[in-house]
Symmetry: C3
């Protein structure tokens, strides 16, 4: 049993849903020598989030952004936390509807993803800047 | 400390929310000899999902399906990913609003569920077929 | 590698989103001697939930409550599970949109939170009473 932990920095992204599987795995601790284990990702922010979704069609990511904007519009009369701009409170709500952390099983040195799965960083602010993700891995080497 | 991992196959389900606690646990690795631990479930798909909710009244599951259909309707003008049918893009959105993975504590050989908790498979496609779930267990035997 | 597990009881809360970081950590097993690890929280209920969000402005918590009430209103004609009162079925839906469990990395004896992150208990019932949370910790001492 081993623990590996590192904090990776994701480059600034435009508002929307972004496929970051390679950007995260390329910077985090290695998993290729683990027979079995779990990868845990934790984003250290409350206005961006993580999720797992379709890794092929860019239109899926665009539709996600458009539909979350429909469910959580800006400038609602019931928002009282408006001091940080119209994109801020919707960003907090979306972050809780999606996920601050993800856990993915490791099998034979790889993430046990289905064919169409990838890791998304969801940037909910207009200008969110770089984002920090803590990568924690536990597993057994072969 | 032990790791146990297996991939279980859940039989095809109709679109909607289904209670699958027994179907998952009956096929996955044993937990009854673990004093303490965590069960992790990971669905290898992006148009079906997992959640924990009420394990008794079937109307709860029906209301979940009806309300998620209200929040994420088909055939919206802002959907661009329409090539796989009107139920596909809503399925991706629902999968991210709910969960791709679940973690449940193990206590004295059992899941530490409250009285009313059970595991749901949420089938968001009209004809989703069988679904694969990776079961990963870590724990300490007594 | 060590496992620590305990069930903590959170005092009854009014309907809404509540910052409970100190209430949970103050009652659960210690983490200050762990060099690396993961904290797992699991709420044993289906009408209250956990999430991580902004730890400073109370208006964020009020806006969360108001916006989830917009997305999941009471007394909808499509609700069939109405026997436990108008706040019950919305509570189940919100619990699945948010989270039954949370995982937070432990780094050098502390939760690896960003500056603005805290743990919320989301009470979705009008009179939910006390709530039980199973705290499970795995980690390596220094």
């Amino acid at each position: 049993m081993e623990w590996r932990q590192d904090t990776v920095r994701l480059a600034p992204k435009s508002r929307g849903f972004h496929l970051v599987t390679d950007e995260v795995l390329g910077q985090g601790p290695r998993i290729d020598d683990l027979r079995v284990g779990l990868l845990h990702l934790f984003i250290q922010h409350t206005s961006a989030s993580l999720t797992i979704n379709e890794n092929a069609a860019p239109a899926v990511r665009g539709d996600m952004e458009r539909h979350f904007n429909e469910m959580v519009p800006e400038n609602q009369p019931h928002y009282q936390h408006t001091v940080e701009g119209p994109d801020d409170m919707p960003a907090h709500i979306k972050a809780s509807m999606l996920d601050t952390s993800l856990s993915v099983p490791i099998q034979d040195g790889q993430l046990a993803f289905g064919t169409w799965q990838g890791i998304y960083l969801n940037e909910h602010r207009d200008h969110g800047g770089a984002r920090s993700v803590v990568v924690t891995i536990r597993g057994e080497t072969t």
